[in-house]
């Protein structure tokens, strides 16, 4: 615990130093980065130990603010979330030193670094806090810091708007959390989590709804996800990586923590979570498919993965409510494991996107192409990330999805309705999500990295500096290793799962060891696959020995002069699916189509606005705005009217109260 606090202090101090020295760009960047790295390493040690030995450690000081007490505690759940928080923050920080460097003429680099360190520390405190006031303060500091990072380039209007949307969404979410915590602590005066007595079922239902809305806004549940596709592209890429990789997970953390606080859940909570999960998952990946801005695409994939995580949690809650340990264990295990995995590959992918933006200066997928030759390392790591996020074996993404599948198959398909719904939502849903994710990332990787460059930006791309490559490499390796060693990791999750499900640890251990056996076979099969691939490669080499291996232009079906602009584009690649799902997507396309025999010029552009943004929130806010603006006549500058207000108020009060 002391180590943890020390780590936090180091992070924050690094931030402040960076702020003080903000006129020395290099020094401030490196100080801040060093702060994060050192602090994270210090913090990781206790986190990992707690995760492995399941010991709790807490610290409580009185704090002279109303209902506040400085009460932090590290338990397996916190530890599980702390590990990605610290890990990814550190790696992204190393990346950031290089990424932010070109801005040094125009901006004080100390400022973003200050907020970055603040963000890292705040996220850690959020998962550690055990007092509502402390939690809320950390929560809002987290939002505020990330807001200032999102509006780092506030000169562009769309970044300002994105930041504003983000801030507003966060604040509305926090309003719900405010109500949530107040009601949580209402029957006992204290707002410390451990002092919360048992809660009446009716109250529990309300609390759960409040939590789902409040935390879900941060996590990016449909339809509260509107801020996500705006804010992530606006932020600097290493920040997007942290925000998408771990910050939105604090929302998931909140829901998990809530479940542990509220006790035995009724069944409908599970169905609610599953519904949210499947809708977020499918719609998220569909919208991702329709995007042609790389970072926007990745942002929508965060919505999708949050959906998968929520499916897992929902399954777990279902298990708890109907008393099936298998469902509970596997569901929560899958969901929480996916939290970690998503942090890994989404961080990796955002860093990769950052490198692309860094060297080409565009996020437009259709302007890129052929980057694999120009930036091989970025390409390789991005490919690994793409395979992982598509949930394909043998990488980590598959491992967590497999757990959820396993849960459903083992104990989900029991009685009538539930079985159908579960099969459709989770099995069908996951399969569909998987297939669409494959489509989306073959599109992303294929169009960006393969083929020929479509524009000059792409043509003159080059590999990024070491400081940006190292983090991506580490993350990529983690994706592979976590995938291959997933059985062992699963077996060590026993403390977390026990705490989340509050089942008997023996039961959990049994379940997990069985899972271990299963996963273990899968890993062998995966290794077999790799060995086969290597063997076949060798075999091909042997076959081609002494034979002619020529290289020529791509066979373009007899057409003599293929040019880069004739390649298939991202939009056209995704068109069959977007066409199929157009009722959801409502893609708006404007085109100047070719008319004569020798068309002068034709152009085609599509944009897919967010469905809940355009059809739910915008109309609501506009309506409020219109209605309230109509009331402005109330104060129209006439002194006489103002005095009349006073007189009338007096009269009304007298007649009302004196009768």
């Amino acid at each position: 615990m002391s180590l943890l606090l020390l780590g936090l202090c180091v992070i924050v101090c690094g931030g402040f130093l960076a702020l003080l020295l903000c006129n020395k760009p290099k020094l401030s960047s490196w100080l801040a980065c060093a702060g994060v790295v050192v602090g994270s390493v210090l913090g990781l040690i206790p986190a990992i130990t707690v995760l492995l030995n399941g010991a709790k450690e807490s610290l409580r000081y009185d704090w002279s603010i109303p209902f506040g007490s400085f009460f932090i505690e590290i338990d397996p759940i916190s530890a599980l979330f702390l590990i990605p928080i610290f890990g990814l923050s550190a790696l992204a920080a190393i990346y950031g030193t290089e990424y932010l460097w070109p801005y040094r003429q125009r901006k004080f680099l100390g400022v973003p670094w200050f907020f970055y360190n603040l963000l890292a520390a705040a996220m850690a405190v959020v998962v550690l806090a055990r007092n509502a006031v402390l939690f809320l303060i950390a929560w809002e500091v987290m939002s505020l810091a990330s807001f200032f990072l999102v509006t780092f380039e506030h000169e562009e209007k769309q970044n300002r708007d994105a930041g504003w949307t983000y801030l507003v969404a966060m604040h509305i979410g926090t309003a719900f959390l405010l109500a949530f915590f107040i009601l949580l602590g209402s029957n006992t005066g204290s707002l410390d989590f451990d002092k919360i007595g048992n809660i009446a079922p009716s109250a529990a239902n309300i609390l759960f709804l409040l939590a789902v809305i409040g935390f879900g806004t941060k996590a990016g549940f449909m339809p509260m996800h509107v801020w996500l596709p705006e804010a992530h592209p606006a932020a600097p890429s290493h920040v997007s990586a942290v925000m998408s990789g771990v910050m939105i997970k604090t929302g998931i953390y909140g829901i998990v923590r809530t479940l542990t606080l509220l006790g035995q859940p009724p069944e409908w909570w599970a169905w609610l979570l599953i519904a949210i999960g499947v809708s977020s998952g499918v719609l998220g990946v569909l919208f991702a498919l329709a995007q042609h801005d790389l970072k926007r695409l990745l942002a929508y994939h965060s919505v999708e993965n949050i959906g998968i995580i929520t499916l897992g949690l929902g399954l777990g809650v279902l298990g708890l409510s109907i008393g099936s340990p298998t469902l509970a264990v596997l569901g929560f295990a899958g969901g929480l494991f996916h939290v970690v995995n998503h942090a890994l590959f989404k961080g990796l992918l955002f860093l990769g996107a950052g490198s692309i933006v860094h060297v080409t200066g565009t996020r437009e997928i259709d302007h890129l192409g052929g980057l694999l030759k120009r930036m091989p390392w970025t390409g390789l790591t991005f490919l690994i990330g793409a395979v992982a996020i598509s949930g394909l074996p043998p990488l980590n993404g598959f491992a967590s999805e497999f757990l959820i599948y396993l849960g459903v198959f083992k104990d989900g398909i029991s009685n009538g309705v539930q079985a159908v719904v579960l099969t459709l939502c989770i099995i069908g849903g996951l399969a569909l999500i998987g297939g669409l994710a494959c489509a989306c990332f073959t599109k992303a990787f294929g169009i960006i990295f393969l083929g020929e460059p479509r524009t000059e930006h792409a043509r003159h791309a080059h590999e990024v500096k070491l400081a940006m490559r190292i983090p991506m490499l580490i993350l990529a390796i983690c994706c592979i290793l976590v995938g291959l060693f997933s059985p062992f990791l699963i077996r060590h999750a026993v403390f977390v799962i026990t705490q989340v499900t509050s089942l008997d640890s023996q039961v959990v251990a049994l379940e997990l060891s069985e899972t271990f056996a299963i996963m273990w076979r899968f890993v062998v099969a995966a290794v077999l696959l790799i060995v086969l691939a290597v063997f076949l490669a060798a075999m091909r080499k042997w076959m081609l020995r002494g034979r002619s291996v020529r290289s020529a232009g791509t066979w373009d079906c007899g057409y003599a002069a293929p040019s880069a602009r004739m390649q298939y584009t991202a939009s056209s690649f995704a068109q069959p699916l977007t066409y199929l799902f157009k009722p959801f997507l409502r893609t708006h396309s404007k085109s100047v189509s070719a008319k004569e025999y020798f068309p002068a010029e034709s152009d085609f552009a599509t944009e897919t606005a967010d469905i809940s943004g355009r059809y739910l929130f915008e109309p609501t806010f506009n309506w409020i705005n219109r209605t309230l603006s109509r009331l402005h006549w109330l104060q129209h500058g006439r002194l006489q009217i103002y005095v009349l207000y006073i007189a009338l108020t007096l009269l009304v009060l007298l007649i009302w109260k004196m009768r």
Partner: protein, 491 residues
């Protein structure tokens, strides 16, 4: 000590009318403010004895409000030095319509400021409700010339409205005093004096219908001064047209004094067992105020007016807090402190922005960060503070009030409260952020020079203070706030 508190500013005011030399007068001004706050500081350690057989006395609420006023005035006095340096003496052009105008002579301005301080001091220390009324009316008269500092027609209009509306309000409050006297009078036997202590002591002997009527009149009368909707109408005009220091003092100190007056009458009613009556009324006015403020902050084009409406909002929150009572009373008192500090800070910064951009239209102000960085940072910080984002103090007070609402199962009120706050957040964030961020419009000279220690330090210090109160409330203050909360029927 109380005489000293009152006399120091009065004497200083008189002197500043005599003194010819500008700098000397400013030195006098600042030193008077320093002395006043010094005396206030001493008052925390040793409670000053009552004088005029208990008419003037510093009880817990008085001390709290006096301290706020004094601190704010000190900051304002520092700021004023820089401001008066910046303001040109000779005739100058109005930036809205090219007409020419001059400023009120500095001597009168400073004298009025000091008189204003003196009157507010009397308000905070007076225990006799009649005397309280006299002081209240005096504040109106002392501030009228301050609002009319820039002698052009808009400020004249603002002054006229302020004068008439507040006078009418105060007149109604006077009627309230008379009603209270009637309520206190007894056929046969000694009548209760209008001293707070006596009234509270003999609360149960007061005549209820008259007492209630008296409270109505107090509420409407002092409410006009405090800026409870729909009686607040003078407030945006006066705040937007007067110089920023004056706006800061109006929002941060004057409104509080009016609020104190209402608190006093609320104390009396609670003592007479009528707290239900007064609480319900306070809640009603509180709700109306925050909603009204929300309506007019939405799409507000003038950032000083926006700040003024936010004052209306926060006065509403205070009324709500006192009305809900219980733990909310403590929250309200904490809110008084935080709001005054934050609002003072914001108005000072607004003054800097006005000086740099020469416009009050928020749409013409862009990229403050780039032009006047320190003010830009303070502007953003002030935004975070005023909308109640942690780790600033207002978050804690608003949180406490909300908690009390939920715990007393006033769920409807609580929901309305949270919803309106969220709405205000949305509209305010739009205005603030668009002003602070973005590219500065053409033709704004890089005004880095215009940021001096005088116009940065005061707001910065106020901001830091409210930040500290958001993270740690010193024990002495905690006890004091609880004492006040008890005095007004909470805990």
């Amino acid at each position: 000590m109380i005489p000293a508190l009152i006399l120091v500013p009065i004497v200083a005011a008189a002197l500043s009318l005599i003194i010819r030399h500008d700098n000397l007068r400013r030195v006098l001004f600042v030193s008077a403010a320093l002395t006043h706050s010094g005396l206030t500081f001493v008052a925390w350690s040793c409670t000053p004895e009552a004088i005029l057989n208990g008419w003037l006395m510093l009880d817990a609420p008085g001390l709290l409000f006096l301290s706020i006023t004094s601190v704010l005035f000190l900051a304002a006095s520092f700021y004023a030095v820089g401001y008066l340096n910046f303001e040109k003496k000779q005739e100058k052009q109005d930036f809205e319509d090219g007409s020419f105008f001059t400023n009120t002579p500095e001597a009168i301005f400073i004298a009025c400021l000091l008189a204003f301080l003196a009157t507010m001091t009397i308000v905070t220390v007076s225990q006799h409700l009649g005397l309280l009324w006299v002081a209240m009316e005096a504040t109106t008269l002392a501030t009228a010339p301050l609002i009319y500092f820039h002698r052009h027609h808009r400020s004249l209009e603002a002054t006229w409205k302020y004068l008439l509306i507040c006078s009418v309000g105060i007149a109604i409050a006077l009627l309230g005093n008379f009603f209270l006297a009637v309520a206190a009078s007894k056929t046969g036997g000694q009548d209760t004096r209008l001293l707070l202590s006596d009234l509270i002591q003999q609360g149960n002997t007061l005549n209820v219908p008259w007492l209630r009527a008296a409270f109505l009149f107090f509420l409407v009368g002092y409410g006009t001064k405090m800026g409870l909707a729909p009686l607040h109408t003078w407030l945006p005009d006066a705040h937007s047209e007067s110089p920023s220091i004056v706006s800061a003092l109006l929002s941060g100190a004057l409104l509080n004094c009016a609020f104190l007056a209402i608190l006093r009458s609320h104390q009396v009613l609670s003592a007479a067992g009528q707290s239900e009556f007064s609480s319900s009324l306070l809640i009603v006015f509180g709700l109306i105020s925050i909603i009204w403020a929300a309506v007019f902050i939405l799409g507000q084009t003038d950032y000083k007016r926006m700040l003024a409406y936010s004052s209306v909002e926060h006065m509403g929150i205070l009324a709500l807090g006192v009305g809900v009572s219980g733990a909310a009373a403590f929250g309200a008192m904490l809110h008084v402190v935080n709001h005054s500090l934050t609002k003072g800070m914001l108005f000072f910064v607004a003054g800097n922005i006005l000086a740099a951009y020469k416009t009050k239209a928020s749409k013409d102000v862009r990229g403050i960060i780039g032009i006047i960085p320190a003010s830009g940072v303070l502007w953003l910080a002030g935004f975070a503070a005023i909308v109640g984002l942690p780790p600033f103090g207002i978050f804690l007070s608003e949180f406490t009030i909300a908690k009390a609402m939920f715990e007393q199962h006033r769920t409807g009120i609580a929901i309305a409260y949270l919803a309106v706050l969220a709405l205000i957040f949305i509209s305010m964030s739009r205005i603030f952020l668009n002003m602070a961020q973005g590219k500065a419009p053409q033709g704004i000279p890089a005004q880095a020079g215009s940021e001096t220690i005088f116009n940065i330090l005061p707001p910065a210090l106020l901001g830091v203070t409210t930040l500290i109160f958001g993270l740690y409330i010193p024990p002495f203050m905690n006890t004091a706030l609880h004492e006040v909360a008890k005095a007004i029927g909470g805990f």
